[in-house]
Symmetry: C2
Subunit: 372 residues, 2 copies
């Protein structure tokens, strides 16, 4: 029986029913028509789309229509700096990079350092500053185009954001925020105000271009609630509504829900060494295998619940290989140990390249930062 699930921007747990989430959040599926339209504009479909890892959207059809007309749009995503980046964080960024490549879009990369400061009791701005630096290395390592990518910290870039945040705030009362985010009178006022700052980069394209310019936000579906508010206030302020394209959560090693730095043994970090990655997957990755090798050979494994297999759907691009692994694991031909070994190798190959680019990023930070 499935566990109940919770999905808010600050908490994701349980067995997530993405169908229910799509209905509850009032977002749409990325249907065949949209995917065909995207394939036509982009020349191909990213495997995240074919595998329904990115599966839902709001107004993405309008973004495609703009692209078809040759009109530019911006991309906007973000990273709240409270700890090291894990594989789950990289998923929307991989896809964002693909969108930038295909559409030549300018990317606004928000680092909302105040968000984590406001929501985490013991986190200081010294902590967020350190993590903002570390996380920026991961962002740059994704291979974004430095000419078309602007990374900024909210507390540093606030001079260009606060006024627009006030325009959002003027249209957003406390009742609405309680209902959208489950906040209470005992929450601090920064926790209430923060979402106004998260709206702002959706409007910066229009401000920067000085004409109405659409914005597409690739992110995990838990963030859509922020942008529901953004969509609700946009027209009143005189900005076009942002679009979102929404992903599932990369599961944590030991359980459902999503990979999370704050739940022990669920996360693989971008800076984990090859041995650490091997150890984590071998020891903690929830297995869809059977009690014994003999039984597994006989009845076969369950790739649908096997976390190692799930990771391959995110990180193994070769769909033929993936199909064969699925079939072999399901039939019992492949044992859990072998599957885990493939996952270890796949992730270590990915991370080995990532870490090299991350190291190189240390000399390139100023190419990406939006200062003043």
């Amino acid at each position: 029986m499935k566990k109940d699930f919770v999905v808010t921007p600050w908490e994701v747990k349980g067995d997530i029913d993405y169908e229910k989430l799509t209905r509850d959040f009032g977002v749409k599926h990325l249907d065949d028509k949209i995917l065909k339209g995207l394939e036509k504009e982009a020349g191909e479909l990213h495997y995240f789309l074919k595998r329904k890892i990115f599966f839902a959207h709001t107004y993405f059809d309008e973004i495609l229509a703009e692209a078809k007309k040759g009109n530019k749009f911006y991309l906007y995503t973000g990273r709240a700096p409270s700890g090291p980046v894990h594989l789950g964080h990289l998923v929307p960024w991989i896809f964002t990079r693909w969108l930038q490549d295909k559409f030549g879009a300018t990317l606004l990369f928000q680092i909302p350092d105040e968000e984590k400061f406001l929501f985490k009791d013991n986190l200081t701005f010294d902590d967020t500053k350190k993590w903002a630096y570390e996380n920026t290395l991961d962002i740059i390592a994704m291979g974004f185009d430095p000419k078309k990518t602007k990374v900024f910290l909210d507390t540093e870039y606030a001079g260009h954001m606060y006024k627009t945040a006030c325009m959002v705030a003027k249209r957003t009362n406390i009742s609405t925020l309680k209902s959208l985010f489950g906040l209470k009178d005992s929450n601090n006022v920064g926790e209430f105000f923060y979402t106004c700052m998260q709206s702002v980069p959706a409007f910066l394209p229009t401000i920067m271009e000085n004409e109405p310019t659409r914005c597409l936000i690739p992110c995990a579906i838990d963030q859509d609630v922020h942008f529901r508010l953004t969509r609700d206030v946009a027209a009143g302020i005189g900005f076009p509504k942002p679009a979102t394209i929404l992903s599932r959560f990369l599961p944590g090693l030991t359980e459902g829900g999503k990979m999370s730095s704050s739940i022990e043994n669920t996360a693989i970090f971008s800076t984990d060494s090859e041995n650490v990655v091997r150890d984590k997957i071998m020891r903690y990755a929830f297995s869809g295998g059977r009690e014994s090798a003999a039984e597994h050979r006989k009845t076969g494994g369950v790739p649908e619940v096997d976390v190692s297999y799930q990771y391959l759907t995110y990180f193994l691009e070769d769909s033929n290989k993936l199909k064969k692994i699925y079939d072999d694991y399901k039939s019992g031909k492949m044992l859990t140990g072998e599957l885990k070994q493939i996952t270890v190798d796949t992730i270590n190959e990915f991370l080995s390249e990532h870490r090299a680019r991350r190291e190189e990023a240390k000399t390139r930070i100023e190419d990406f930062m939006l200062r003043d």
Copy 2:
């Protein structure tokens, strides 16, 4: 019988009982000991102090102790730009100028443009920008030292304020703000958050000097509630508590409470012509005179309730002259028409000089603005 009174940062009405206000707000009277200490440090007492126009404080004794030790402190006051400046606004500025002269203190002059935007339904940021410019002319016309005065708009200077505002916000929950300011769930989140931005300039001296530096805030007593919150959070963030020195309200022409731009016929604006000033005082200033000249001659007037006389206590520096006017009006020797004429002349002389300096200020704005 006295009317009930209300004093919040957004509403002042009724017959104000300053004794009750002092108790309710938990502030202290400026007693003889403090005034003697101030006279010793400053070399003299401003007549606003002798006449109890500035009458209350928090921690001003500690500011004096710092000054005595030769330690610097900053001044901080402000002006929310939603309309023209009237005489009531100038009162704390006159006193702030005197403090700057006497102590050589740096003055931070906040223009919280977002405050009025957030609290007034129909006010736009185009409006606040226009009024910020107009009001800055009045500020400069006060004669502040350009080398020691930094004027800034919140929406422009937010890059240097938002982070500190978040530190205040993290320590301030919605319940506290409801209780301090009477805000409700139907108020917008900017109205709740704004006070955090009003706290920030109290901490900027320490940030700018990079060592603990006290701040003294001269303002009307309705603003103290903002700084009560500032005092409550200061130590937790690691900043010294700000001190306040608090004034009564300049009464409106027609009634008690305070002069207000939003109540018709109560305000004399800094840009009012001599004829307009004359007309407003002659027509609207509430009189402490009697029904007929004959009765007035016989029983005398009541200077305590006469608005023209009250204005003289603010704008006529010569205490001997003021005493004589008081006596003559009270005895019936001076009629209301004569008293009003003196007030018209006194205010017009003050405003005539002010307007000349205000005109000249148009070429000096950049000498005062804190940019970047």
